[in-house]
Symmetry: C2
Subunit: 706 residues, 2 copies
Amino acid sequence: MTDLSLIDGLIAPKSVAIIGASEDPGRIGGRPIAAMLKAGYEGRILPVNPKRDTVQGLPCYASVGDLPEAPEAALIAVPAKLVPQTIEALGRKGCKAATLFSAGFAETGAEGEAAQRELVALAGKHGMRLLGPNTLGVYNVDIGYYGTFSSSLDTGFPRPGNIGIASQSGAFGAHLGALARDQGLGCSVLITTGNEADITVADAIRWMAESDSIDVICTYMEAVNDAPALLAALDVARAAGKPVLALKSGRSAVGARAAASHTASLTGDAVVADAVLTDHGAIILRDPESMMDIAYAASKKVLPSQHSLGVVTVSGGAGIVASDEAERIGLPMPSMPDEAQAKLLEVLPYASAVNPLDCTAQALNEPALLEQFTRAGLEEGGYGAVLCFLTYVAGSERLSKVILEAMAPLRAAFPDRIIAFCALGDPEVLRRYDEAGILVFNDPCRAVRALDAVLRLGSAQASSVKAALPEPKPVLLPATSPDEAEAKALLAEAGINAAPEQAVQSAEEAVAAAEGFGYPVVMKILSPDILHKSDIGAVKLNIRDADGVRAAHADILSAAATHASHARVSGVLVARQLSGGVECLMGINRDPTFGPVAVFGLGGIFVELLNDVALRACPFGPETAREMILSIRSAAILQGARGAAPADIDALAEMLSKLSVFAAGAGERLVSIDLNPVLAMPEGQGAYALDAVIELDAQEVAADGH
Amino acid sequence: MTDLSLIDGLIAPKSVAIIGASEDPGRIGGRPIAAMLKAGYEGRILPVNPKRDTVQGLPCYASVGDLPEAPEAALIAVPAKLVPQTIEALGRKGCKAATLFSAGFAETGAEGEAAQRELVALAGKHGMRLLGPNTLGVYNVDIGYYGTFSSSLDTGFPRPGNIGIASQSGAFGAHLGALARDQGLGCSVLITTGNEADITVADAIRWMAESDSIDVICTYMEAVNDAPALLAALDVARAAGKPVLALKSGRSAVGARAAASHTASLTGDAVVADAVLTDHGAIILRDPESMMDIAYAASKKVLPSQHSLGVVTVSGGAGIVASDEAERIGLPMPSMPDEAQAKLLEVLPYASAVNPLDCTAQALNEPALLEQFTRAGLEEGGYGAVLCFLTYVAGSERLSKVILEAMAPLRAAFPDRIIAFCALGDPEVLRRYDEAGILVFNDPCRAVRALDAVLRLGSAQASSVKAALPEPKPVLLPATSPDEAEAKALLAEAGINAAPEQAVQSAEEAVAAAEGFGYPVVMKILSPDILHKSDIGAVKLNIRDADGVRAAHADILSAAATHASHARVSGVLVARQLSGGVECLMGINRDPTFGPVAVFGLGGIFVELLNDVALRACPFGPETAREMILSIRSAAILQGARGAAPADIDALAEMLSKLSVFAAGAGERLVSIDLNPVLAMPEGQGAYALDAVIELDAQEVAADGH
């Protein structure tokens, strides 16, 4: 658990020493000083450089030891080989927070990685926290602190505001900061975490989640280095009502585990991360533009609880374009109530009053119309947001005053709703709307997408009563991967049903078992070493009598002997053959970052061709399992599409939840579980795992066992 | 066929009369004059207003008759009721082109529509072409012509350039124009077509396709009022190598025909329009932003023939974000050849040299690195485009000069390739790159998407040898919708195979037919009035002997008598039961705009749940049919996914093409055809329509038949 008060020193220090301070405002050791002098940093700047008396007009100290005080923060801009002694000196002086610009550590290979580990140990000895190494640093506009050498400052300082950026990449983080600035957004804090020897992007998010000055958190991640801390940080942000917008790159990487089992290939790293972070309230984005749009919309701190949009236009065309986009992304645009429509048509007979509301070009002569239509949308339409398409009309110097006068009172009258304009023109003119609390976008579709994201946040918050997670119980696993019967027995203890079945050692035992279940039965080889039984002819379906059982028994053993002669065979499995259900697939795959992840999908082509699956980190309860099941694109098949009987989704949800609890309790030796197929019978008739493969890492031999 | 020389008068007139000219530069009759005076219109402005001697400093004429010459164009800004006499006067004077700002015609209802038709007749009498009524007009920056009252000019004039906009909506067209201007794009011509009484958006596109000054055509459409002209205009644009970027709104509208047949609901108007316009080379877009991005990229007139992207960065992170987006949208980013990688790593050992190419922050000190990496991408990587992520670095006043100096020679060395920057900063600094022929975007993902579109255009042009369309032959249709046997007979004449089958009138005839085919057989009712035969139990499958045939015959007739007592029954159909193939669906649906449209998909859930179909206007050849078949998401199932035998795609393609030729020859009475299922047998074994429904409009009774 990170103590955030120590991170405070990195992000909001009252004094900062620059080790390797430079007179040249273009050099790494000079840039932060020049920036802080220009920005009027509120704290004390303490340059350290043995060769100079002053740096950029400030008194300069020959060594860390010579500093007149223990600096709250230090910026280290010396070559890699000098870093350890610098940290040692700072530690002795009492400094508790150092930002390491210096490169040449873990990013260069094994040797650098070892050196980096030593830095952390050294800092730890002094209770010092490290940002970096190989970081571009931090800025905090509100106090004029620029612990960064980013050249993004050459093209202007960031604007103050309640957006924060936490980035693993320095350049990309600074790009986001510059993008925000160029778009007029207020973004006070940028934290770039570089090699993450100590402080991670999770810590940065957590700091922002607890900070009074940041309300919207943007983050760029390439790898999750500390999953529990990240999820905890997301939970804190969600509890604080602060949206976290995450751009996670490297989506094409698929973990090395992917080949290990069927379901594993469905759970590439990026897909798992998306699912887990989304589950913890993050909004996953693919591009900087949508990040900035949503950050802008969310920065006003109005998150309406209604996920619905009204569109008001001065031209039909734009209303249609906006409606098309809303429909595409699933943002509801309900019609206005009939009475409200009638009232609007009385005011303006040629208007459209359904939604989109078109108050026509007449609104150019009579801006009061715009106000009336927008008010109707908020009041009688009850929309979470109203988007007014005003284009260049709103950008006209003359009209902007009239429009603002008409519309500003609505802002006060509906404080919990969003009013947005789609407008073009001089940024200075448009800024007046923004200052009056009206969001301004220049593209109707970008506006619709950003509003959708913010409205989803609001409605999720309004309805978020998180169910408690089920408590996993420790599971006693065998020493090596179990065969199918053992796997099913293990799962049965966890409450997961297979079809009625029995392991047998002879043909006559098989006949007895089959007669007990009733025909038809299915028979297959029992072996922990044969994963794809059908492929070698070691599965027989549709066996209808005793002779069939005997023949199948012989065929299966002979197939195993022929095609898998080295496999351990522990017998043959006889099972009641179920039919009439929907074939599904459930599985578990251990993600190297997030631990066991459950996957659910329909069988066959739905998974293989369409990749139509739902993922969730384990464990979770039946309600969550139900959401997962219903979230796949082909869920309609389970719900009784095409005249079929609806499947027993309750039973599937119970099974999936129990599987997740089992996986969470099984510990790190569990590599994967495949239940494929799981047969979902018609409503009320249950769900059964017809096959089960559990793959385990072999048990480690105790130290004294050698 | 439109004579475009007459439209010239509307868009590039040498003189223009303004009927209803106003002294007030804010009024409809005053705005165009004020704009043209300010912009320095090259032609003669001739105000007409009986109440004034001068208008805005120009001599004013009391009436059209008093004009000193026949104006090449007229702008009509008088109330609707005065429009006819104005057109009459203009016609007599010899004016051949009038733009009608006046509203109050077809958009107001039936009466206005009639008045509008009279206008067209009146104008036709004088050989005059009309734009509008209810249009915002036209501008043509190159000659300073502003035949428009758009208030978008209040916030600045458009910039000259080779982009043109053709829009049905005035306000939305002007919005696009203002958007282009605000983004620094050169867009010389805007044509808004209003009610399209005469000139349509198709004419406007055609004019731009043939114009010397326009290279990229942007169009906004709500309805296609003249499909043949539109498709012809698109073909002319494609032949001229001019991209047409189309934003077609109203995507949720589904024609009234939708309920008429199964396949009809798969072919909503917008989906059909997308398919047809795409087939004619248009790029269909959903939002103005992507339209502007692609127009910008295409306006440089460099359309490389390689559909591949190289990314060069100064920071790893951005390269990953761009690569993720490229992979998502299917833009290939091939690796650099091994030798080229080795050479780059020699220059900069810490670089990434695969693709994306990361020349690291070292490029800030050594801009020559940037040039080397980009050159390698163009030369050895052979990429159609190289995108350099330079962010705020490129926006720095100091570095921009060095970067430009290093990179400009590449522009000349690789004239047929695209070089693009992702850059932030002062627009004036960034413009220098643009002026040197380097594209500038501020978002890496927007850049990737725009480059993809332009690279697709280039590679499509490089490979476009259009096959000749098959010639449809007239089809003799029965007077009313045929029953299944008649439908199959009709289709058989067109070369479309059903399974071997026979219509029978008795149980014994059925037995004889079945024995002829061999068992199993399938039997079903023959009736033009029963569309969903299975639902009432009038289809029997899997009949294996003569007794089964007799029982089925009785059951089917009794089911029809019970559940469809008023249906005409013409017998029972006996057919060989085929199995072992893949069930597909083919159909035809008559689109009100584009005529018969073919649809292809796999059977069952693929169509019903996933809407996974391909559409194409009829007729087309087997090669096109093959492309359609392979374009569906689930095509892998036909190609032998999951170990199944590959289906006979050649036979499917032949059948689909023949169906399209049949539909094209059948004329307007053909409402729809459903072949569902079509069984695609394993390769070499053909494809068979197992069911066929043809729906016809009843034959019109000749006038003397009443």
